[in-house]
């Protein structure tokens, strides 16, 4: 199963930071994952598609076109606010 991580306000919208799930059929990129999530939950999907959201796949910064599979950890990061 893929590990999906949602931080900050995205975690609130997703109802939890960590979701372990099988990627939906036909989902092979982050972009496609966001589209599939939007079909399930429009508010969350739109928040994930915001230009300010960044992606980390297997602990590396990634763009929306990067290939993903059920063995990956995919993290969605809204604008940060440390310090």
């Amino acid at each position: 199963m893929a590990r999906l991580l949602f931080f900050g306000k995205l975690g609130d919208l997703a109802g939890g930071r960590l979701h372990e799930r099988v990627l939906p059929d036909g989902v092979a990129t982050v972009d496609q994952l966001i589209a599939a999530i939007t079909a399930e939950d429009e508010a969350l999907g739109e928040a994930l598609a915001a230009p300010s959201v960044r992606f980390i796949v297997n602990e590396k910064m990634a763009d929306a076109g990067v290939a993903i599979s059920d063995s990956d950890e995919i993290a969605f990061l809204p604008p940060v606010s440390g310090g």
Partner: protein, 151 residues
Amino acid sequence: MIRISDRAFDPGAELTAFEQNAANAGAIVSFLGRVRGKAGEADVSSLYLEHYAGVTEAMIAECERDVFARWNVDDVLIIHRIGNLNPGEPIVFVCVSAAHRREAFEAADFLMDYLKTKATFWKKEVRDDGEEWIEPRDEDYKDAARWREDE
């Protein structure tokens, strides 16, 4: 050294320990950031901070390596809280030791800009008028951009 923890810490005691380890440094700059009790007109009752365990630490370690490459500093300490914090509680403490003060000031300033605008922490204010996930202020992005222009 980088320490991210959900436990409260004592900045004075941390400075003492850092100072004792940095026996040969002539200059030590520290920055302490604390939870403010006010956000505009609203009262802040608490702050909740989360991070991306493992990834946040690795990214800060890379920033720390940048600092050592760019400034002639002896040692760096970064402590950052996660979890629930009350107004007045320390959130972040950065110490930099160096032979001379200019380097220590600049490196501490740079690290704080990194922590404010790039480090993967997320912070939610719980206020008497509701809850809000905070984003950096325009001023924070401007501060962080200073270092790019320098290069």
